[in-house]
């Protein structure tokens, strides 16, 4: 109900922005490559006005770079970029974890535990895609439990920029096992409302993410 109306009501600009975001994340639009307006417009079936507005918001989100008079390109992340993002994300999720321990309701904590169980099930059956999706959900939800909107916004922004890389990242069986162990620790800390412990777990988790990812950039 509400949601479908909301989708219909969204301005063309927003729809276009989402479409391009998806194309970037799934890799159809290669990092560093120029975005051909003409071709894009054809595919999306819109005119230049909403399209260019969409590019502006994507630029502000850090996914795209518009070079005046020279066309837009998909932002290509260097190793330094990714490192700096993970460093900040670590700090943000640390805060998220600490605040969640203080501010989340028992019900909310229980829901996190549930989600974790589902992830474990996927791990057992080696179901990559649903695990990946739930993992995103897990981190977003933790940010929500901080009850800090700015934190959520910043986290999801960095999350979006890293999405492609993260997916590539958690590939090897060992690294997956490591990630699972990290999540186990997080859940224990959250259940015990141990802010310090959860904070540390988040930082450690993101440090490992860097180790997994750094050679693939």
């Amino acid at each position: 109900m509400g949601s479908s109306i909301a989708i219909i009501n969204r301005s063309l600009h927003d729809q276009v922005a989402s479409r391009i975001r998806d194309l970037i994340i799934e890799g159809s639009l290669e990092p560093g490559s120029r975005i051909d307006e003409l071709q894009m417009l054809e595919e999306l079936g819109v005119s230049r006005t909403p399209f260019r507005e969409a590019l502006r918001t994507l630029a502000a989100e850090g996914l795209v770079i518009v070079r005046p008079s020279k066309g837009s390109i998909v932002r290509k992340l260097t190793q330094e970029d990714v490192f700096s993002m993970l460093e900040v994300l670590g700090s943000l999720e640390k805060l998220a974890g600490e605040l969640a321990c203080e501010r989340a309701s028992d019900k909310e904590v229980e829901a996190m535990v549930q989600l974790h169980e589902s992830m474990m099930e996927c791990y057992r059956t080696q179901d990559r895609m649903p695990y990946y999706k739930m993992n995103q959900e897990f981190h977003s939800r933790l940010a929500e439990l901080s009850k800090n909107e700015t934190l959520q916004e910043m986290q999801s922004n960095i999350q979006a920029r890293l999405k492609r890389i993260r997916y590539i990242g958690s590939q090897t069986p060992e690294s997956w096992a490591g990630a699972v162990a990290d999540h186990e620790e997080m859940i224990l800390a959250l259940k015990g409302r141990d802010a310090t412990r959860l904070g540390k777990a988040m930082v450690a988790h993101l440090k490992k993410t860097w180790d997994r990812v750094k050679d693939g950039i």
Copy 2:
């Protein structure tokens, strides 16, 4: 030289965005009030295309809210908004401080000390405006010393959203004195390369900022 060319080369869209940003910060555009396109276009002397693009980037930056088919408004910050921003800013500047202690060169630290001295001079002569400007500079520079671009970006984004409020904030003589004492502590920690101490100083400083500001929102 380079800078002036860069300014000339900036697209109209960017110039318009900056102009509006300034209007918001200096308070000519009241939070919560509708932005009248027609009137705005007249004042700025541009057409709707670059203007609306500018609105999109400002929206992505969180300064403006565009309500589909109902016009844009200057984002109005609630107490919760400001609290959440300062909470995140605290975490970011804590990280910035810690990293700065590790990564800044002696020369850069020396430059910070210089800046601090200038601020002290302004405090002695009770020169509000230059102190305010240098204070912004101080915090931005600390973020730079972290050598983390994402951190700088996020910090400056929150900084921009809070600018108006912060200015209102540091008004009373006592609060100013308190802020000055905080900065004294920061400089000592930085000179001593004491990451933990500087981190704590940053968090404490932003907690106090909240106390100063909260009743004025």
